[in-house]
């Protein structure tokens, strides 16, 4: 088979899906892109067995049909060349691939396309289909992915839980120390369903999804999901298992509420947490009406820091300790100018909520567990 394609056009498609290729593959064939030509459409696939990404593009002067696996590392070197038409002459019998550029030729014997592993399939009898705007899925991933765990003992928490119900879509991520729940009331489904999307495919989607209203179609069963959007298809294995009952651990009646300027607290925390012990990263918040003091110290290297900032607070004076990095991540992922911090006591979870919403359909809740500080 033969075809002609613009080098930058091809490179854009290759780079979009190349991130799925793992640097330490168990199967050598996975270091390749799978090229499949049908009439004038070239379909390119990359996979790490768990996740498969497929993209397609139109090519010119297409002749013949067939599949072949092409070395990914060498092809990606295209990024260093200038825009030019490339002619691919592929012999699927001898597996020789010649790429003719404007001023040269690159030849290599590649691998058989049939050896490339087939993407997972979704069981037709158990499948669920959901359609939603790309922007909603992208925001859900953006808001939650930082809170996913990296814990071999609790694999379910290494992903984002998506649940669909008649009232809303919910995305939840937690590593048992912090948690994010993002809800969209404009996305509903008559049928209750849920899946846990692992971190890697979520990260890939985060980079690929367009931030617009275009439709994303998700088809899934209990094992796999096929996510289709624009000219991409992502097929991925889901995390199997039961997500912990996150609703039960969200405090419903935290009596005290503090309002602080988000950027102010973020910048001050960032500075102060630099003076905390790097391993435990403990930052203390001393909360009084109208004043919040954030402080940190490292006795081992005798350093300490504190900053005061204004806040609105009604309730008992309190000293509560948090891991500084968690606080920063939480605050960085809220976009409103002010945040509410809802507290009950120094050993219970604190809630972080945006004061004003970006979108009326959105409902964002972040939660962080304190560290046990001696009273």
């Amino acid at each position: 088979m033969n075809f002609v394609v613009s080098s930058t056009d091809l490179l854009n498609h290759l780079q979009a899906i190349a991130k799925v290729i793992s640097s330490k593959n168990t199967l050598p064939i996975l270091d390749n892109f799978l090229f499949e030509l049908k009439s004038n459409v070239l379909t390119i696939t990359a996979s790490d067995l768990e996740t498969t990404l497929v993209t397609s593009m139109e090519v010119e002067n297409a002749e013949g049909e067939g599949v072949i696996a092409v070395d990914a590392r060498r092809l990606l070197k295209l990024k260093d060349t200038s825009e030019q038409p490339l002619t691919f002459n592929i012999n699927t019998e001898t597996l020789s691939v010649d790429i003719l550029s404007e001023s040269g030729k690159f030849s290599k014997v590649e691998q058989k396309g049939d050896d490339f592993p087939q993407p997972h399939e979704v069981d037709e009898t158990k499948k669920t289909e959901i359609a939603l705007p790309a922007e909603a899925l992208l925001t859900a991933i953006n808001k939650t992915i930082f809170a996913t765990a990296d814990d071999d003992l609790r694999p379910v928490m290494n992903g984002i839980l998506f649940t669909f119900s008649a009232d809303y879509m919910t995305a939840v991520a937690s590593d048992a120390h912090k948690m994010v729940r993002y809800r969209r009331t404009d996305i509903t489904s008559e049928q209750e369903s849920s899946f846990i999307l692992p971190q890697k495919p979520a990260q890939l989607l985060k980079n690929l999804l367009p931030n617009d209203e275009s439709e994303v179609k998700i088809v899934f069963d209990h094992q796999n999901a096929i996510i289709e959007f624009a000219n991409f298809v992502q097929v991925c294995r889901l995390v199997e298992g039961k997500y912990p009952n996150y609703d039960a651990v969200i405090p419903k009646d935290n009596p005290y509420r503090m309002t602080v300027d988000r950027l102010d607290i973020y910048n001050k925390l960032k500075m102060v947490s630099g003076y905390a012990n790097p391993a435990s990263n403990l930052v203390k918040m001393s909360i009084a009406p109208n004043e919040l003091k954030v402080s940190a110290q490292d006795l081992d290297f005798s350093m300490s820091a504190f900053e005061r900032l204004k806040c609105e607070y009604e309730g008992e004076e309190m000293e509560i300790g948090f891991k500084g990095v968690f606080l920063l991540e939480i605050i960085a992922n809220i976009s409103s100018t002010d945040v509410f911090v809802e507290l009950s006591d120094p050993s219970r979870a604190a809630l972080f909520l945006p004061v004003e919403k970006d979108d009326d359909n959105e409902d964002l809740l972040m939660l962080i567990m304190p560290m046990m500080v001696n009273q």
């Binding site: 048992a176 435990s280 081992d300 300790g321 006591d345 050993s347 560290m371 046990m372």
Partner: protein, 390 residues
């Protein structure tokens, strides 16, 4: 820094434990005294000079020491008292010295480099020693030289209750006739290896090619050879963070009842975990050690997320014990150690830690802080507690 310009002082309290006991009970003066585990299976942790004539040395099994010197008065020892006196001495040194390193409970290194411009270092050291003797009442010896190794050897030669300065031109002649056993870093095994090679004195060791020493003693060898030549560039480290805490226990009789052993480990863990919490520290590595009746010693360790909570640590301790105890043999000793300590607090878990539990810990800890840590403990560690002691 060039070695010749340095001045290192090594201070060592003479028979520290014995001296403390004598300070508290003057009837013990000039009598043979052994401090250590008083049962047959204990070991000697310190012994007075009177007993040394009988061949008693520290680290020797108590049974043997008693046979060698039946007249000796045996004392169980009180670690709390010893650390109190040790602190007293450290405080005096901290008050006077520019840079000091607390090497162990009874040893300090001081870096006096540059002080000879203002005071004679020997005069200064003598005054410091007199002040310590006057204020603490404990006999102390020092060695003053150009590096840590020679200073330490000099202290050993100065003892008991003496002082010795080795100037840089005297270092080699001073070391030459001494036994290689006196070099810090040459233990029993290295000593025997070198003895079989016919190396007995430091002078002989100096003549052995350094490569050969390195070959027989491993990576430590080159250092040993350098020390034999009076070269030791290791600095005086002013501050040493305690990197681990641990405890271990040798039983009166070897035992194989795993349930009880687990209880003892739980009791040890509980005690250490409280210690961590009191110091506002958390650990990320738990080690369990067992010694079988035939002295085979095995350890197993595990990295964990930072914690100082009894219930988590006891669980990990138990799992490790079950893994490490894999022979049908009686056990002579068990130990628990927490390492990779950092200052900080326990990060609560959303799904596992409840607020009730946190308050329980806080209530228990405040009881322990007020009335001592024996006042309340887990039912599980109740019987183990008797073995571990307070």
């Amino acid at each position: 820094m060039e070695q010749d310009k340095r001045n290192i002082l090594h201070l060592d309290l003479d028979t520290f434990f014995v001296s403390v006991e004598r300070l508290r009970n003057s009837q013990l003066n000039n009598k043979p005294i052994i401090v250590g585990g008083t049962s047959d299976r204990g070991v000697v942790s310190a012994c007075s000079y009177e007993t040394r004539a009988f061949g008693v040395y520290s680290g020797m099994p108590m049974k043997m020491a008693r046979r060698l010197c039946p007249e000796a008065r045996l004392i169980r020892g009180d670690m709390d008292q010893y650390s109190k006196y040790s602190h007293l001495v450290t405080d005096i040194i901290a008050d006077e010295a520019p840079v000091y390193e607390k090497m162990s409970i009874d040893e300090h290194y001081l870096d006096l480099t540059g002080m000879d411009r203002f005071f004679g270092t020997l005069k200064w050291s003598k005054e410091l020693r007199q002040r310590i003797i006057k204020e603490s009442g404990l006999p102390i010896s020092f060695g003053l030289s150009k590096n840590k190794c020679v200073a330490k050897i000099a202290t050993g030669e100065a003892k008991p209750n003496g002082e010795l300065q080795i100037a840089s031109q005297e270092i080699l002649p001073f070391l030459a006739p001494l036994s290689i056993r006196k070099i810090p870093g040459v233990g029993n095994k290295a000593f025997q290896t070198l003895r079989t090679m016919g190396v007995d004195t430091i002078a002989t060791l100096r003549n052995v090619p350094p490569d050969m020493v390195a070959r027989v003693l491993g990576k430590n060898g080159e250092d040993v050879w350098k020390k034999a030549n009076g070269i030791d560039l290791s600095p005086v480290k002013p501050y040493r963070e305690r990197k681990s805490i641990g405890t271990e226990r040798t039983f009166n009789n070897d035992r194989a009842d795993t349930a009880r052993l687990e209880e003892i480990i739980a009791a040890m863990t509980e005690k250490l975990a409280f210690e961590l919490r009191r110091k506002e520290k958390v650990t990320s590595c738990v080690t369990i050690k067992i010694r079988y009746a035939n002295f085979d010693t095995h350890t197993k360790q595990q990295r964990i997320p930072y914690s100082a909570m009894d219930h988590q640590l006891i669980k990990i301790g138990r799992e490790l014990f079950r893994k490490v105890y894999d022979r049908r043999m009686r056990v002579r000793l068990v130990g628990v150690k927490f390492s990779h300590l950092v200052h900080g607090a326990h990060q609560l878990d959303l799904f596992e830690d409840t607020s009730e539990m946190v308050r329980l810990y806080q209530a228990l800890d405040s009881l322990k802080n007020r009335y001592g840590d024996h006042i309340v403990h887990k039912a599980l560690s109740m019987s183990g507690r008797k073995v571990v002691g307070r």
